[in-house]
Amino acid sequence: MLEIRDLCTCYGKVQALWDVSLQVNEGEIVALVGSNGAGKTTLLNTISGLLRPVSGQITFLGKMIRGLPPHAIVELGISQVPEGGRVFPEMTVRENLEMGAYPYRVWRDKEATLKQVYQLFPLLKEREKQLARTLSGGERQMLAIGRCLMSRPRLCMFDEPSYGLAPLVVAEIFRIIRHLRDQGITVLLVEQNVRRALEIADRAYVLENGRICLEGACTELLENDHVRRAYLGL
């Protein structure tokens, strides 16, 4: 579904990604793990068009999307839940969700989509008239996921969805991610919480210093010595 080949991205003169190749198949949850500053967010932002790669290829459903502007990429069905949620603080919960349906492809059906999102997150329905800034961290993350779903994505990219949240909330969010996969949405999951990510995902890539250093099925990676030592503390 998504195929990345030899991708290089720079911030000014500093190169952040080196020859990254990665593949996400339809219906999978693929985890992208690594420590702080490894380039995980950079990779997501390059896919969604916020950053322009220096070289390499990105194809989505057989279409070259490298160099397309972010709004065109959302229109094609790739949607990102940014780190920390990044909800619109002075808009109500409902307005936040409606904004998620901004792409032309989905704007007209937004009422129907909204119903589905409320079904998935009954809590958001309860709070629909509240300003987003009054929500708790976990609620904001759920709102951000809901907003992302409003664009009816084929591929959903999560950037550190568990960051800064209580364990119970994290469990709930991972349950939702699994549920989305069961609904037919493909997931690319960026996480620092390596153990949880490897437990939920089908395959994973390990990113270190801007390079993919390991890849494979999660069951294998959980047994891998390097992963166990560096990320699982075993």
Partner: protein, 318 residues
């Protein structure tokens, strides 16, 4: 926007606007000459501030460019006024401002915060000195005479510009486009993530807001009869909209409008009563407003409204 949100509280604003429009349309028939001129000045400031608020209100990008578009309008009037009919002059002024804003916006709206504000202010100075150079180099004189138009006509033209502006602002607010502008102001990165074409939207809105400022400049020029680049590109026309908007309260569209009305009236009164100290008094009023009214006049109104309703509740409670 769905129908459920069109409740009564949101309906009374347009209704009130309609009544006001009817009142202002018939005003020159019975009002004094002075009142007509005063209202034209106030309407001019409302146009400047309202146009400024269309773009800067939701997006939070502080533009100091109004004087540039105002001056462009003034010079359009000075150059074309003799040979073209008034409506054509006004439309050309609007179009010229739109195109310049589109070009400048496309170049600079990637800049954030203070950098954007500084660049837009630089634009005013750039056009001013370019014109000065051009006039001295090629026409040999610094200033130009503008064809005079009678006060009632100026009043009506300004009034039509104002009405069009209010309608445009209202339509933008209600639309998908307006929501997207708001989202840019709240979190530009997230706006891009949900598929808003951030740069295009900012540029187009900036250009739309410039149309009205340019048109206002074109009609005001006919009142001044003589203009030169210093008069036309007076930086005051950049600062006034910002100050008036802050004074009124930036959050909603009504704030800047209210701010402009009160502020413009205040300016007029202070100039006529205290011609030597008016800037000083003006400054004091502004300081008081900023310190005590963080949300402007609209914020004050909300506080008062809340107090009154609380008192009413206290009475019925007894």
């Amino acid at each position: 926007m769905d129908i459920a949100r069109l409740d009564l509280r949101k309906m009374w604003t347009p209704a009130l606007l309609l009544i006001a429009l009817a009142l202002f349309a018939t005003l020159p028939l019975y009002a004094s000459r002075y009142l007509v001129i005063l209202l034209t000045s106030i309407a001019m400031y409302v146009v400047l501030t309202g146009s400024w608020a269309i773009f800067s209100g939701p997006t939070g990008y502080i533009s100091l460019a109004p004087a540039a578009f105002f001056g462009l309008g003034i010079y359009t009037s000075a150059v074309l006024g003799r040979t073209s009919p008034l409506p054509a002059v006004i439309l050309v002024a609007g179009l010229a401002s739109f195109l310049v804003a589109l070009f400048v916006g496309a170049l600079t709206l990637r800049l954030k915060g203070i950098y954007f504000a500084m660049f837009t202010f630089g634009l005013v100075e750039l056009i001013k000195y370019f014109l000065l150079w051009y006039e001295v180099e090629f026409t040999g004189t610094r200033g130009r005479f503008v064809v005079v138009v009678d006060n009632t006509t100026i009043y009506y033209v300004m009034f039509i510009i104002l009405a069009t502006l209010l309608l445009t602002a209202y339509l933008i607010r209600r639309s998908r486009f307006g929501m997207a502008l708001q989202s840019i102001g709240e979190c530009e990165e997230a706006a891009a993530h949900i598929g808003v074409n951030v740069n295009l939207l900012k540029t187009v809105t900036f250009a739309i807001s410039a149309i009205f400022i340019g048109m206002a400049g074109a009609i005001m020029a006919t009142r001044w009869t003589y203009v030169d680049p210093y008069i036309a590109f007076n930086p005051l026309f950049s600062f006034m909209p910002v100050l008036m908007a802050i004074f009124g309260g930036i959050g909603r569209f009504g704030g800047p409008i209210l701010g402009a009305v009160v502020f413009a009236y205040l300016e007029e009164t202070l100039i006529t009563r205290f011609p030597y100290y008016y800037m000083l008094l003006f400054g004091i009023v502004l300081i008081i407003a900023v310190v005590y009214l963080p949300n402007g006049l609209v914020g004050l109104a909300q506080i008062l409204q809340k107090r009154i309703s609380e008192r009413r509740h206290a009475h019925t409670g007894r």
